[in-house]
Symmetry: C2
Subunit: 138 residues, 2 copies
DNA sequence: TCTTGAAGCTCTAGTGACTAGAGGTTGTAG
DNA sequence: CTACAACCTCTAGTCACTAGAGCTTCAAGA
């Protein structure tokens, strides 16, 4: 049995975050001591590892809840899990496209100015003031 | 003079968001009508355009406040503005790297499973459960 | 001039995924 | 047995909005 602190050390998830996961129904402790402190078993440790990994990959708490639900019903099709993962992938790809466009624009803005002179004629400020300067959309 | 709704239509920023910007000190209306409704002039319209553009590029409210502050003191160096933009660029590039890694990982996970069979042997779930499967770090 | 209704107003609370702090209790090593 | 690190609960704060309640004002048509 592990205390919440031990679980935290082993997974790298902060203690208040573990309590938060309990609050939202993601991870329940195996039980409590007489003094009301949480105790976890190996299953809890594994589940927290799963949650951590999924969060690192950007899955929402909601999506993770759905995935855990699937884990607990092995009779259900794997298709749902794949759909959730595909959805996440689409999401990441959209963000990637957007960020790439932003990068291009920011390079143009940030590098267009040598940092000298007064802010009155600053290229950064002028670029932000006037969208017309932009090459792509965002 | 424009009403808040006209400002909203011209810039594409929602009415409650404009009020929010006032609340955090980003955009003050030129004045109020006798009936307490906000009225904006051309300067307000331009400033909201500036804010909108900067937000689209991912600048935080805090950074935008600093940039506007610079605009209003044309005697101050342009360097600060450039620094803020460079910082934002660094930030975007970090996010890009991270997202690219995630994409790779998600492709591996989401495409490794044909969606058939039960969730018991689902590759998505197995991959999320075991970080060891991962190629890169995240 | 009156009426209607869209648009405006303020205020509070909710979102997601935590994080911080107050103020009190428990577990454990020496 | 004592000290103190680690635990507990609860509330409130973060960011950048968004939603809703309940009210008032503005402007166009009759």
């Amino acid at each position: 049995m592990f205390s919440i602190g031990q679980l935290s050390k082993q997974t790298g998830v902060k203690v208040p975050t573990i309590r938060y996961y309990e609050q939202v129904g993601l991870l329940v402790s195996a039980g409590r001591t007489e003094g009301n402190q949480r105790r976890y078993d190996k299953e809890g440790l594994e589940r927290l590892g799963f949650i951590r990994h999924a969060r690192d990959l950007g899955f929402s708490i909601e999506a993770i809840t759905a995935l855990i639900d699937l884990q607990q019903h092995p009779d259900r099709s794997c298709q749902e899990a794949t759909e959730i993962a595909q959805h996440q992938l689409t999401d990441v790809r959209e963000k990637l496209l957007r960020l790439k466009a932003l990068e291009t624009e920011l390079v143009r803005i940030a590098d267009g100015c040598d940092g000298e002179g007064s802010s009155e004629e600053c290229y950064v400020l002028a670029s932000l003031a006037d969208h017309e300067h932009c090459r792509g959309e965002h």
